[in-house]
Amino acid sequence: SGFADDDFVIKNEFLALTFDQSSGSLKYLTNLETNTTISISQTFAYYVGSVGNNTKEPLRASGAYIFRPNCTGAGPDCSRPLEGNGTYEIVKGPLVQEVRQYICAWVSQVIRLHATSKKVHFEWQVGPIPVGDGIGKEIVSRFSTNLKSGTEFFTDSNGRQNIKRRRNFRPSFNLNLTEPISSNFYPVVDRIFIQDETAGSQLTILTDRAQAGSSLLEGQIELMVHRRLLVDDWLGVSEPLNEPGLGEGLVVRGSHHLIFTNIAKSPRRHRLASHDLYWHPALLLLPVSSTTSQAD
């Protein structure tokens, strides 16, 4: 249920992605091997960085050392969705199918499904983050599903074991939660995942760089992809995390690889996929001229 007649689909023999015709946004993800479908959306949002009051210890600004959104609410209500009067393109060919989402002037994304791939490639591009309004922004990519993952999610630990994280909880002390958003963010060196034990399904995201991630609501994964802040957090770096770059601010491009399969198959799938990504082939190129023959 929920599928509309005018939805469009990109698929290979392993996965199918269903998109809403009017908005071009992702609606459903189907694993064709296990015949399992989940509802899924992927959106970008930003947290407003706190400017704090650096004369008082508990009111530090958000900066290089601390992620501190300017809100006290819990969950994604604290963030602002990135919406624009965007456009999208569908590109279909024999080796790759992709949906290109131009969300706003500084956020765009290609969702790509290769012909023989068991993972979905999200190539996002964010920046330069506009700060003309005087507001520092911290941008997240958010995957929201109907998976019943409860309060738990998992993050890796620098290539060692995956660690179970529980929202608003610490295993070794009683948590006095004063920062409901940032206290639930953890380092993601290369993967983060959620599990629905009743359905037996797991959604894993592999990152291409170390990021911060969380699951602030059941069925949700969010990863911070870019930050631009205007106030130093007074913890030693003595400059705001502004990165003006060419004068406009940095543009960041990166990848998230999504794997959706059952819990039993997932460890093998994401471990092998991470090997493919992190020990990817080296590509050497040589212009062929009269002195370097094709035979060579």
Binding site: Q21, S22, S23, G24, S25, A64, Y65, N85, G86, T87, Y88, E89, I90, V91, K92, G93, P94, L95, V96, E98, R100, Q101, Y102, S108, V110, H114, A115, T116, S117, Q125, P128, L235, G236, V237, S238, E239, L241, E243, L246, E248, V251, R253, H275, D276, W279, H280, P281, A282, L283, L284, L285, L286, P287, V288, T292, Q294, D296
Partner: protein, 180 residues
């Protein structure tokens, strides 16, 4: 002989907690990037030496790397009529890898080992790539093919730009544009 110590040194410096967490000042971040880039370039020369040695070429070939492929820039594929591509697989198992290279609009041909024709797909670059601030490139399209690589080994491919009217094995690509 090339030295891999430049990268070892740069990575060692980048173990500092400020480098790991990004709490260094901007000019220090710039310096870390410079050191890493110099180190990577030295290691690339080592890889070229290795490929030349194991491939038994008659004289060493001056392979190059395209470090800006993530933003679809590669002056070699953009400006050469014919390019030899060597893909080295560092994994101990066979790998099917999709190779995506920026090219200028036109007809192309890709051959693999033994001169076999390789199916490929040509797609126009997304507009956010074309409009990327500071991106200097002639590429308008991207060519994509699937490479099959042996464990701890390499496969060579040949990418050739055809004269107008040449027969290409490009797959058909359709594009639908919508306003959300």
């Amino acid at each position: 002989q090339h030295d891999v110590s430049a990268l070892r040194d740069a990575v060692s410096v980048a173990q500092h907690h400020d480098a790991v967490t990004g709490t260094e000042r901007q000019h220090v971040a710039d310096d870390y990037a410079l050191r890493l880039d110099r180190g990577v370039k030295e290691c690339q020369e080592t890889v070229v030496d290795g490929i030349n040695r194991i491939s038994n070429v008659t004289k060493p070939l001056q392979f190059e790397f395209c470090d800006l492929l993530n933003i679809s820039i590669c002056s070699i594929t953009e400006n050469s009529k014919e390019v030899a591509l060597v893909l080295w697989n560092p994994l101990s198992r066979t790998l099917n890898h999709y190779v995506q290279l920026p090219v200028v609009d036109g007809d192309y041909d890709i051959t693999g080992p033994g001169g076999t024709k390789i199916p490929f797909q040509i797609t126009p670059l997304p507009k956010h790539t074309l409009l990327l601030p500071g991106r200097l490139s002639n590429a308008t399209h991207e060519i994509l093919f699937r490479a099959k690589l042996p464990p701890l080994g390499y496969t060579a491919y040949n990418l050739k730009k055809l004269a107008k009217g040449g027969v290409s094995l490009a797959g058909h690509t359709s594009i639908l544009r919508k306003r959300a």
